[in-house]
């Protein structure tokens, strides 16, 4: 139980995907205009990442390891992730078309999102069991959602602020992202016994 709790906290806070591992920066900057779309994106990533953690773990341990094909894991994982993203895209188009429209190009981009592949590979590298892998996948995605939603909120405020002309737009957003990353660095001090 302690181990699972540790994985959760590490995934969400101390080793936040965006702020400490710098994975998934593309959607982090691209879909963080409004907290609502950011949350939708976060949920989509959470869904894909949790499912892909399960499937990649099973495929890796029951197929690749059995047949000494570990060296092909990247290709296998990308195949799995691509299929899952396709699946979620169909699902969304049918049941949540508004979110589908709002996410636009970023939804297919989850396919090549390093955060999703990163979670799958870290699961394997850390030698997690299936349960731990699911927890890690789900909670690092929740960490991603947390980061992107906070950042979207910050950006919404920035829209109403009047920074110096040269900082307007992307530059001030990047400065804000840097400050957020520094704030998250504060969690590094947490020690979980």
């Amino acid at each position: 139980m302690g181990e699972i709790f540790m994985i959760m906290i590490a995934a969400v806070l101390t080793e936040n995907f965006v702020f400490s591992k710098f994975l998934g920066i593309c959607p982090f900057l691209g879909v963080s205009d409004k907290p609502s779309t950011a949350f939708g994106m976060g949920m989509a990533v959470t869904f894909v990442m949790t499912l892909s953690s399960v499937v990649t773990w099973i495929v890796y341990n029951f197929i690749l390891v059995q047949y000494n094909l570990e060296y092909l894991r990247t290709i296998a994982f990308i195949l799995i992730i691509a299929a899952l993203v396709q699946f979620i895209e169909m699902f969304m188009k049918k049941y949540v078309p508004a979110l589908y429209q709002a996410l636009g190009i970023y939804l297919p981009l989850i396919t090549t999102n390093c955060a999703v592949l990163g979670a799958a590979i870290i699961n394997i590298d850390n030698g997690y069991s299936l349960i731990n892998a699911i927890i890690y996948g789900a909670f690092s995605a929740i960490g991603f959602t947390l980061a992107i939603v906070i950042f979207a909120g910050v950006r919404e405020r920035i829209n109403f602020a009047s920074p110096p002309a040269i900082f307007k737009g992307v530059p001030i957003s990047l400065v804000a992202a840097g400050l957020l990353a520094m704030a998250f660095a504060g969690f590094q001090g947490i020690e979980i016994v």
Partner: protein, 281 residues
């Protein structure tokens, strides 16, 4: 043997996912109104976004769902509108044809430069550097961002100011959205007069920046018999709902910044400025 297993397993994985997706595609297939496809075929397929939707298919969906009018496509004009109305079984709506007009007359001969721009030849970059090289904050930078964005080859830069070829212009709005100075506006295709200036500076400042800027003297406003021209924010604008194309404003303008595509021929006023070469009235 290892290679064989790799081939076998990856084929199995690929096939498995393929089958799952194919099946999911059937389950989640969104039912589509057949009219969407028919309307999408009628639309010009330029995907220019001039209607305000993401592309021609998105507009077709909006028309079928009733969110958009049958004449919503600015590019296709009346002809397309009529065909779409037929598909929808509705009365065809009249659509006003618009054209883009660059609201600046400050060519290199008239507008003062505040510095020499030597950077990336693009209006957006130039605009980031203290608002571009033209002293007037609302002047056309003439670096051709609109030209690059025009999918219909309708814009040219003539002597430092962009000029729209009316016949080519489909009023898709790509240039309007691209212009960092926001000085490209839509006016009705039939409009005969327009104010070729958007300088919101006070008259004295505009006078220093450009020899053909609107100085908000209000002569046109007083002369206009139907009250169609108004000065707001130190610049004249014409209300085309009211304009009768009488041309009094043009004659009264001491700065000669009110443009007409009628008098160019009839009175032979030669002003080496925008658009002139492209008009065929």
């Amino acid at each position: 043997m290892n290679v064989v297993w790799a081939i076998i397993w990856f084929s199995v994985l690929g096939l498995g996912f393929g089958l799952i997706l194919a099946y999911a595609g059937k389950i989640f297939a969104a039912e589509q109104d057949e009219r969407i496809e028919m309307i999408a075929d009628i639309l010009p397929s330029a995907n220019c976004g001039g209607c305000g939707y993401a592309g021609c298919t998105a507009l077709a969906e909006a028309i079928v769902s009733g969110d958009a009018q049958t004449n919503a496509c600015p590019v296709g004009g009346t002809e397309t509108g009529t065909k779409i109305a037929e598909v929808m079984g509705e009365q065809a709506l009249d659509s006003i044809r618009y054209r883009a007009q660059v609201m600046c007359s400050g060519t290199n001969d008239f507008a003062r430069e505040k510095y020499e721009y030597d950077g990336i030849p693009d209006c957006i970059s130039a605009n980031r550097l203290a608002g571009g090289s033209k002293a007037c904050p609302n002047g056309c930078l003439g670096l051709g961002t609109c030209v690059k964005n025009c999918k219909f080859n309708a814009i040219k830069i003539i002597n430092g100011v962009a000029a729209v070829d009316y016949e080519q212009c489909t009023a898709c709005g790509a240039c309007v959205a691209a212009c960092p100075k926001m000085i490209i506006k839509f006016i009705p295709f039939e409009a005969t007069h327009w104010v070729g200036c958007m300088s919101v500076d006070k008259g004295a400042v505009t006078r220093k920046n450009c020899t053909v800027g609107c100085i908000a003297c209000r002569l046109c406003e007083k002369k206009c018999p139907v009250g169609a021209i108004k000065i707001t924010d130190f610049v004249a604008t014409i209300d085309y709902e009211k304009c009768t194309s009488c041309g009094d404003c043009e004659k009264s303008c001491p700065r000669r910044v009110i443009w007409s595509n009628v008098s160019q021929k009839s009175e032979g006023i030669v002003r080496d400025k925008q658009s002139v070469g492209d008009i065929d009235v």
